[in-house]
C-alpha cells in the first residue's frame, strides 16, 4: 500500500516515456496529473491511518525485499512512513499534483513529443522524491537523492537546444555531484560505525553514544552529510547552481527548485536528528552556514532584475532559514518552514510563470510594471504569497519564520538572530520590490515587448515557449483556468498552512511541532516496553523538547520577538514601497552613489567568477596540460608507441641473423654444436 504512493508516478513515467509521443496532450498531461492526484489521495489515507496510532509508535513499515546481504550486514529495500515523512509526502504529492495540473496548461504550446517528455520527467522526479522521503535506510534515500538530481538535470536542460539551458543543467549536475560524494562518504562511515544504514537502528545506537564535545566520528559523519545537503539544498558553498537552474521551465522551478527537491537536505538532517544532536559542532556549522547563506542570497536578491532569479535567491535565502532552525536543534521549526515555504514559494514561482506567460516570455522586471489591472488573478495570488513570505502576521510565513527566530534567540545565539532579522527585512524588501516593479507603477512592457518581438536576437524567451512571442504583445491575458485554479489553491495554502503550527504564545498548540516531535527521537515501535522510557529520556536530553515545554515561560519573550519581526516585515514592505514605487529616483541614485556595492551585488559577489578562477580553470589546465597532454599523450600513448618502437628496434638487430646465406646458418649450427660439446666436455 505504501509502495503504491511512489509507484503510481513511476507508472505514469513509464507510460509517458514509452508511448507519450504518440498520445494527444490531453491524455499525457491528464494521465500524469491523475497519477499524482491518486498518489496524493493514497498518501492522505496513509497519513490518516498513521494519525490514528498513538504518537510514540506512529510508523508504517513496508519491506519490499532484502536488497543486500553481506556477512552480518544486511539491507532491505524498505519504506517507512512516520510523522516526518508524512509531512513530506503530503507536500510532495499535494504541491506536485497542483504543479502537474498547472503544467498541463503552461506547457500546452509545446510539441506533443516535448509535452510528453516534460510530464514523464516530472513523474519520474516525483517517484524519486517519494523514494527519498519514504526510504527507511540511507541507501534507499541515496537512490532517491541521486534520482531527483538526475531529474533536476533533465528538467533544467529541458530546452536543451539552448546553450545556456544545457550549461545550467550540467552545472547543477556537477555541483550536486560534489555534495553527493560527501553524502556517500558519510553513508559509508555510517556503515563502518554502526554496521547498519537503517535510520531507526542508527538513531538508537547514536543515542547511547556520548554527545561529542570535541570533533569525533559522529561530527565527521554529520559534517559529511551536511556537505551533501549543501549541494542538494543550495547552501554556501554549493548554492551556485540554483540561480542558473531557472533556465528550466517555470513549473520545474516551482516543484523541484523551490518546493521539494531543494528541501531534501533539510529533510535529511531532520531524519538523522539524533545523530546531529550528538554532534553539536556540526549543528553550529549548520546554523552559521544557513544564516550566512540566508543573508548573502537576500542581498543578491535585492538587485537582480530577472523575476525568476529574484525568486531563486529568495529560495536560497529561505533554505538558509531552514538550516538555521536545524542547526538550533529546532527540527520541527525547520520542517514547519519547509512546509509553509513550499506553499508560498510554489505560488510565487507559478505566479511568475503566469506573468511570463502573459508577457510572452519576458522575464526582466524592468520591462514589466502596471500588470495589476491586466492580470488580476495572478496579481492577487502573487501578492498574498509575497505577504506570506515577508512574514506579515497571521499568514503562514509569519508563524514558521518566527518559530525559527524565536528558537534561535532562546538558544542564546543573539548574533544569528540579529542576522536572521536583517534577512527578514531583506526578504520583505526584495519581495515587494518585485511586486512593485512587476505589478505596480508605469506600464513598461508594451515598448519592451514590442521591441523584443521585433529583435529576435534579444534573449527574451528564457523559459516560456518561444513561439508565444508570435502573438501580439498588446493582448495580455490572465492565467487560463487550470493555472488560475492552482494559483488560488496555493494562495489559500499560503494563508492557512501556518495554522497547523500556531505557537503556544498565541494560544495555539503548535500541533505540527507536537506531531513531528517523536520523529526526531530514537524511538523503536518494535519494542513498545522501552518506547516510553526512550521518549522520556530523549525529551529530557534534547533542547527542542525543553523548548516546547518551556514555551509557556517564554510566552512574553516570544510575543515581543514576534512584534519585532512583524515590525521588521512592515518596515521592509514600507521601504520597498518608498524606494520602488514612490521615489523611484532614489534606487538609481543609491546605485550610482554606492556603485561598488551595487556592482558587487549585481554580479552576485563574483562567486561564480571566483569558483571559475580557483576551481574550474585549474581543473581545466590540469586536465588539458597535465592529464591530457602530459599523462595521456606522453605516458599512456607513450607506453603503447614505445612498445612498438622497442619491437621494431630489436627486430633491426635480429633481422641480421636471418640473412639467407647457407654458410652463415651452417656456421651457426657448427658453433652451437661445438659450444654444447665444449660445455659437456669441460663441465
Amino acid at each position: 500500500m505504501l509502495a503504491l504512493i511512489p509507484l503510481l508516478p513511476f507508472a505514469g513515467f513509464l507510460v509517458n516515456a514509452t508511448m507519450g509521443r504518440r498520445l494527444p496532450k490531453a491524455v499525457t498531461g491528464g494521465l500524469a496529473s491523475a497519477v499524482m492526484v491518486l498518489s496524493f489521495l493514497l498518501a492522505a489515507m496513509q497519513v490518516w491511518s498513521l494519525a490514528a496510532m498513538p504518537p510514540e509508535s506512529r510508523q508504517i513499515n513496508q519491506t519490499l525485499f532484502t536488497w543486500i546481504t553481506a556477512g552480518d550486514f544486511s539491507l532491505d529495500l524498505a519504506l517507512r512512513l512516520d510523522a516526518l515523512s508524512a509531512v513530506m509526502i503530503l507536500v510532495i504529492t499535494g504541491i506536485g499534483s497542483l504543479i502537474h495540473i498547472y503544467s498541463t496548461s503552461y506547457m500546452h504550446e509545446e510539441s506533443d513529443e516535448a509535452f510528453a517528455r516534460f510530464f514523464s520527467y516530472l513523474n519520474l522526479f516525483c517517484f524519486f522524491m517519494l523514494m527519498l522521503v519514504l526510504g527507511s535506510n540511507v541507501l534507499v534515500m541515496f537512490v532517491g537523492w541521486e534520482g531527483v538530481g538526475l531529474c533536476s538535470y533533465l528538467l533544467i536542460g529541458f530546452y536543451y537546444e539552448k546553450k545556456s539551458a544545457s550549461d545550467a543543467a550540467k552545472k547543477a549536475f556537477v555541483v550536486n555531484r560534489i555534495g553527493d560524494f560527501a553524502f556517500l562518504l558519510g553513508a559509508l562511515l555510517l556503515v563502518v560505525t554502526f554496521n547498519s544504514l537503517d535510520f531507526t537502528t542508527i538513531a538508537l545506537a547514536a543515542k547511547e553514544m556520548p554527545v561529542e564535545v570535541t570533533f569525533g566520528t559522529l561530527s565527521l559523519i554529520t559534517l559529511l552529510l551536511f556537505v551533501g545537503a549543501t549541494g542538494k539544498s543550495a547552501q554556501i558553498p554549493l548554492y551556485v547552481w540554483l540561480p542558473d537552474a531557472m533556465e528550466g521551465p517555470t513549473p520545474v522551478s516551482a516543484l523541484i527548485h523551490a518546493a521539494t527537491m531543494v528541501t531534501a537536505g533539510v529533510y535529511m538532517i531532520g531524519r538523522n536528528a539524533v545523530l546531529f544532536e550528538h554532534a553539536p559542532m556540526t549543528l553550529t556549522i549548520v546554523a552559521v552556514v544557513g544564516t550566512a547563506t540566508a543573508l548573502m542570497a537576500g542581498t543578491i536578491g535585492l538587485v537582480q532584475n530577472d523575476i525568476k532569479r529574484v525568486l531563486a535567491y529568495s529560495t536560497v535565502s529561505q533554505l538558509g532559514y531552514m538550516f538555521l532552525a536545524m542547526g538550533m536543534g529546532a527540527f520541527g521549526a525547520g520542517i514547519f518552514h519547509l512546509m509553509t515555504h513550499a506553499f508560498f514559494k510554489a505560488c510565487l514561482f507559478l505566479g511568475s510563470g503566469a506573468v511570463i506567460h502573459a508577457l510572452h516570455g519576458e522575464q526582466d522586471i524592468r520591462k514589466m510594471g502596471g500588470l495589476k489591472k491586466h492580470i488580476p488573478i495572478t496579481y492577487w495570488t502573487f501578492l498574498i504569497a509575497s505577504i506570506a513570505i515577508a512574514g506579515v502576521p497571521f499568514l503562514s510565513g509569519f508563524f514558521s519564520k518566527d518559530e525559527i527566530l524565536f528558537e534561535t534567540f532562546v538558544h542564546g545565539h543573539q548574533i544569528l538572530w540579529g542576522v536572521g532579522m536583517l534577512t527578514s527585512l531583506l526578504t520583505a524588501t526584495y519581495m515587494f520590490r518585485l511586486v512593485h516593479l512587476t505589478f505596480h507603477g508605469d506600464e513598461r512592457f508594451g515598448a519592451a515587448a514590442a521591441h523584443g518581438h521585433q529583435a529576435d536576437d534579444h534573449a527574451h524567451a528564457h523559459s516560456a515557449p518561444q513561439h508565444l512571442s508570435t502573438r501580439a504583445p498588446q493582448h495580455l491575458h490572465d492565467a487560463p483556468a487550470p493555472m488560475a485554479f492552482v494559483l488560488i489553491v496555493l494562495a489559500i495554502g499560503s494563508i492557512l498552512a501556518g495554522y497547523v503550527g500556531v505557537p503556544h504564545a498565541l494560544g495555539g498548540h503548535n500541533n505540527l511541532g507536537a506531531w513531528l516531535e517523536p520523529a526526531f527521537q530514537a524511538t523503536n515501535c518494535g519494542a513498545p516496553v522501552t518506547t516510553g522510557e526512550l521518549a522520556g529520556i530523549a525529551i529530557a536530553e534534547c533542547p527542542p523538547g525543553e523548548a516546547v515545554e518551556g514555551a509557556e515561560d517564554h510566552a512574553a519573550l516570544e510575543l515581543s520577538l514576534m512584534a519585532v519581526s512583524s515590525l521588521v516585515a512592515f518596515a521592509g514592505i514600507g521601504l520597498a514601497t518608498f524606494l520602488w514605487l514612490k521615489r523611484q529616483d532614489i534606487p538609481a541614485q543609491l546605485a550610482t552613489q554606492f556603485s561598488g556595492v551595487h556592482k558587487l551585488l549585481l554580479n552576485k559577489y563574483y562567486v561564480d567568477e571566483v569558483y571559475d578562477a580557483t576551481i574550474v580553470q585549474p581543473i581545466k589546465v590540469v586536465s588539458q596540460e597535465g592529464l591530457w597532454r602530459g599523462f595521456d599523450v606522453k605516458i599512456v600513448d607513450g607506453a603503447v608507441n614505445g612498445a612498438g618502437y622497442f619491437v621494431s628496434g630489436v627486430s633491426i638487430v635480429l633481422r641480421l641473423l636471418q640473412n639467407g646465406s647457407v654458410k652463415t646458418y651452417a656456421a651457426a649450427i657448427f658453433a652451437g654444436a661445438v659450444t654444447i660439446l665444449a660445455y659437456y666436455f669441460w663441465r
Binding site: 636471418q658 640473412n659 639467407g660 646465406s661 647457407v662 654458410k663 651452417a666 656456421a667 657448427f670
Partner: protein
C-alpha cells in the same frame, strides 16, 4: 692400430669436411664435403664398435649411409634446380629468402 689412430683419422677427415663446407664456393663441393664429414663419423662409429665388440656401430653406419644417399639425391636435385635459376653454383648467389 689402436682406437686412438682411428679417432685421429676420423677427426682429421671431419675437419677437412668442415673446412670444405665453410671455405669452398661451389654447392657440389659443399655436398661432397658434407659426405666427407658423414664418413668421418661413420669411421668413428665402426672403430668404437670394434673396440667394444658390438655391432651397434656398424648398424648405425648403415643408417647414416642410407640417409647420406637420400641427402645426396635430394641435395643434387636442389643444386640442379638452383643452377637452372641463377646459372651459378656459388651459395652466396642464393641469399634472398624468397623469389
Amino acid at each position: 692400430m689402436s682406437l686412438g689412430h682411428y679417432l685421429v683419422l676420423s677427426g682429421v677427415l671431419f675437419s677437412i669436411g668442415a673446412a670444405g663446407v665453410f671455405l669452398r664456393k661451389n654447392l657440389i663441393t659443399l655436398l661432397l664435403s658434407v659426405e666427407i664429414m658423414l664418413n668421418a663419423v661413420n669411421l668413428a662409429f665402426v672403430a668404437f664398435g670394434r673396440q667394444f665388440g658390438t655391432v651397434d656401430g656398424q648398424i648405425i653406419t648403415f643408417f647414416v649411409m642410407t640417409v647420406a644417399a637420400a641427402e645426396a639425391a635430394v641435395g643434387l636435385a636442389l643444386v640442379i634446380g638452383l643452377f637452372r635459376h641463377r646459372e651459378s653454383l656459388n651459395p652466396e648467389a642464393f641469399t634472398s629468402l624468397k623469389w
